[in-house]
Symmetry: C2
Subunit: 207 residues, 2 copies
């Protein structure tokens, strides 16, 4: 359906919104029309928030997480354990793991995973700095927490190979049946892994 | 779930996106992180598009549709019939009706419908200017094309009363079974109306 917009400014705003992932022309129009009901100050605040973020965004020089200073809150938190580093794809995973409250180590944000289909190779990721961090000798354990996809597995293996020369323990987050899931509906690969990687029942009682 | 953001700029941008209707914190974060992968120029264009629209938006002084000039493309189109005016709630309905290609008259955009629950009364809508347009004597027919809700019906009736002193035909868009719908699944009120407002079969063949 070709939409005819009554105003070039409106059309431009709708097209800009429609460039966002998961937002089509109809939703874009709804969002733009909603913006017209807000005050110019509110819309200015909205537009400037994203422009300012993009222009002034800073990445932690240690872990590459987004932050406002040179080093992020997590890396500069002296109460955390710098000998354990959790490797994640993106800042969303940092936030998800932080929300669990189960991890007191530091992170390393790769900024993506190796994905030849999307043209993302090892050189596009923060892999050299990971090797440097491990090389400094402060890190005793690397926890791989990437997606359980082919790309994630590829990246895991690449990192494993890169770090094979160092005296560092490389572990991977447990893969198994989700808490609350019924065995009956679990897929075979997950179920199989959960049996192979079974843990001591007594240990599980402590959680 | 309380999210802890690693950056105040990021948090601000996420909060601004989450103010948009239908966009929660998770989607907002996804959109903001996507913006960080775009160039600063692209993000600037996005932010400025909505700011510029809000600051420079213009409404047609005849029909109150959004436009770039004093009078909109539709009102200034001399090939259209100025004696028929279709009353709609918002610009989205103008676009929907224009897309049908079935209407060659002009519009009148109310900017909403009477909704006491939302605090929207007749004085918040472009009703006086509708009465003025009809009063000028150029309009021969008013077509009411508001939503078939209680608010829509209330507004229809309000307009009907306001225009009762003028020599103008007031019609309402047909309500009936949607094209492609099965009778079996139609609601009773719609089905009842479609029987009461039945049309000549021969006329329907011409469509």
């Amino acid at each position: 359906m070709i939409q005819k917009y009554p105003s070039a400014l409106l059309e431009n705003a709708v097209n800009e919104f429609a460039k966002l992932p998961g937002i089509g022309k109809k939703t874009a129009l709804r969002l733009v029309l909603h913006s017209l009901k807000r005050t110019p100050q509110e819309v200015e605040a909205f537009g400037q928030a994203i422009i300012t973020l993009r222009n002034e965004v800073n990445y932690c020089k240690v872990c590459h997480n987004i932050c406002d200073d040179e080093v992020c809150n997590i890396c500069s938190d002296l109460s955390r354990d710098p000998s354990t580093v959790c490797v994640v794809e993106n800042i969303k995973e940092v936030m998800a793991i932080e929300n669990t409250g189960q991890f007191r180590g530091l992170y390393h944000v790769l900024g993506g995973i190796i994905s030849p289909m999307d043209g993302i190779g090892p050189s596009d990721l923060q892999l050299n700095s990971l090797v440097e961090r491990v090389g400094s000798g402060e890190v005793k354990e690397i926890i791989l927490a990437l997606s359980t996809t082919m790309e994630g597995d590829t990246t895991n293996f690449y990192i494993y190979r890169k770090l094979s020369g160092f005296d560092v323990k490389i572990s991977i987050i447990a893969r198994g049946i989700s808490v609350g899931d019924e065995i009956e509906y679990a897929d075979e690969i997950t179920l199989g892994r959960s049996i192979l990687n079974r843990t001591n029942f007594k240990d599980s009682l402590k959680l």
